[in-house]
């Protein structure tokens, strides 16, 4: 079924960019889009890609600028590309998504891919990296693609957040005018600037021999409960030692009237100075999950997460807070928290804005209030 739209051999380009100590790459990258794909590859520029040898290892840096065209009849809201390097890298699976788009039929749009592979120096043939299309989301929430990475769910969540946030900013514009909108966007930018990011290192062990760290203790989760949420967190704990939290587990109750297929619990860590940071999320991993109304389910992650403010500066974890951040029902419908729920001051301090809010505030920062107002009036 697949039509190889482009097999891109980058030897010449890479050789041109070669520096002393740079070796010629032994292989190529390729792009595979299905024949009936709603996006077509217009061009691919691999000009800055190169390989270097470092002792017994080879480092491949790939920098690609793709130009894609909407060859469908619908308006594209999001695209996810699947990046596969499974022969040369652990896991070897990655994706690059571009949400918050508004691409009309026939229009082109750019996607950048920047990656680095490190592997032992050894011979091999075939492509190092293959780029496939995982999915395209349209403005009516219809989806095209193999969905190998569950990109349908992710892109639908981003699009629902985009609709929610555009509605919010439009209502402010209508009620308070452009100056009210400016105030709101400036508050959003201020929160972004104040929010601290942590460096995180996640360790997954190959077997269940996690060694209990010295001084490790069980820390119970506190929960932020949204009255509107279909799931209610009941209990949860993680094993904490210094800046490391291991094996978080959370139990939830389905209080909706529909079976739930998937959900995620986001969690916040608090350090000993009382500062809070968004730590990540614990997803429900059972692909056959069907949590009936009134039933409980427990999610567990066999991983250890180490948090630090900078290399060598671990965060001393003092408390954990969880909240339900998304729910997918068995019928495919998705729930996300409302703006009112997210107005909780604790959440506002730690939560990143949605991709659409990030895009709108970036637009304001680069092009001003007029551009933002006309953008909000587009759709």
């Amino acid at each position: 079924m697949r039509n190889r739209l482009g097999v891109v051999v980058f030897g010449a380009a890479l050789a041109a960019g070669a520096q002393p100590g740079v070796t010629n790459p032994p292989s190529s990258f390729k792009i595979n889009f299905p024949a009936d794909s709603p996006v077509a590859l217009v061009s691919a520029d691999w000009g800055e890609s190169r390989t270097n040898t470092l002792g017994g290892a080879v480092v491949v840096e790939l920098h690609a600028a793709l130009s894609l065209r909407n060859s469908s009849q619908g308006r594209i809201r999001g695209v996810t590309l699947l990046v596969l390097a499974q022969d040369v890298a652990p896991g070897g699976k990655a994706s690059v998504s571009v949400p918050s788009l508004d691409i009309r039929p026939g229009e082109t749009f750019p996607v950048r891919l920047d990656m680095r592979l490190l592997r032992p120096l050894r011979g091999g043939s075939g492509p190092l990296v293959a780029i496939d299309l995982d999915g395209v989301l349209f403005d009516d929430l219809t989806f095209y693609g193999p969905n190998r990475l569950n990109s349908r769910r992710s892109m639908t969540v981003w699009e629902l957040e985009a609709k929610r946030d555009r509605r919010h900013f439009r209502s402010i514009l209508e009620a308070q005018g452009p100056e009210g909108l400016r105030k709101e966007i400036l508050a959003s930018l201020a929160r972004r600037d104040e929010r601290a990011n942590l460096d995180v290192q996640v360790t997954r062990r190959g077997r269940a021999t996690a060694v209990v760290a010295e001084g490790e203790r069980e820390v119970q989760f506190a929960f932020l409960r949204f009255p509107e949420a279909p799931l209610e967190p009941v209990s949860g704990l993680a094993h904490v030692s210094g800046g490391e939290a291991r094996a978080p587990r959370v139990e939830v109750l389905n209080r909706s009237d529909r079976p739930v297929h998937y959900f995620e619990i986001s969690w916040i860590i608090r350090d000993r100075q009382g500062r809070e940071f968004l730590a990540g999320s614990v997803p429900a991993l059972d692909p056959a999950l069907k949590l009936a109304p009134g039933q409980k389910s427990q999610i567990f992650e066999d991983a250890s997460l180490k948090f630090s403010r900078a290399p060598g500066q671990p965060v001393a974890i003092d408390g954990l807070t969880g909240f339900v951040s998304q729910v997918e029902f068995s019928d495919g419908a998705i729930w996300i928290p409302s703006r009112a729920a997210l107005a909780d001051p604790r959440l506002q301090r730690v939560l990143a804005p949605s991709p659409e809010e990030q895009r709108l505030s970036d637009l304001y920062r680069r092009r001003g209030l007029g551009a933002l107002v006309s953008e909000l009036k587009k759709y």
């Binding site: 990655a94 750019p110 490190l118 021999t209 990143a352």
Partner: protein, 187 residues
């Protein structure tokens, strides 16, 4: 009382004597710490057998204990055979002929009747630890000295989130101006 580190190492390598083996096994079923230590020793041994290079995260402590224990065992064996043999009493010639023949017959019978040990199915090697890293410049998954990273050069306003399944970074791409979300998977 826990068995010594040397005994645990010899047990994991199948080199402890019968009584020692029974003692360690009896202790191990009650003691999670010793059980885990033996499991780790097993895992390292099996991993080493399947690799032609050293793993990144070797716990040298247990390996050192195993080496020391083996050296001690060798020294002890050396001491057993060390002293010079004392003057022996002469052996009667009939016994000198009959005993080796009898021994040969016994060995032959034993080799015929003793069941062959069943071949142990090789256990799958223990996969090495996979590490995901998320920082403002990149998200990376690394295992066995191989790594795969998605970079966001020149990106502004980078936020990232992690779970045991992967790491995700969100940023405004410096060139395209689009919000871009990159994700590496630990699977």
């Amino acid at each position: 009382m826990h068995p010594s580190e040397s005994d645990l190492a010899l047990y994991a390598g199948g080199e402890l004597g019968l009584w020692g083996r029974l003692r360690v096994r009896r202790h191990m079923v009650r003691c999670g710490a010793c059980y885990r230590q033996i499991e780790e020793l097993h895992a390292v041994r099996e991993w080493m057998q399947t690799q032609d290079q050293l793993p990144l995260e070797i716990n040298w402590g247990p390996l050192a204990a195993e080496l020391k224990a083996n050296i001690r065992l060798g020294l002890a064996a050396g001491e057993c055979v060390g002293p010079a043999a004392r003057e022996r009493a002469p052996i009667p010639w009939r016994a000198a002929v009959v005993l080796p023949v009898l021994l040969l017959v016994l060995i032959g019978w034993w080799l015929q009747s003793w069941p062959r040990p069943a071949l142990r199915a090789p256990r799958a090697p223990a996969p090495a630890t996979m590490v995901l890293r998320a920082s403002p410049g990149e998200i990376e998954v690394e295992q066995n000295g191989e790594a795969f990273a998605l970079l966001h050069p020149g990106a502004t306003d980078v936020t990232f989130s992690v779970s045991g399944q992967g790491a995700r970074a969100r940023y405004v791409d410096a060139e395209t101006g689009y919000v871009t979300i990159s994700h590496v998977y630990a699977q």
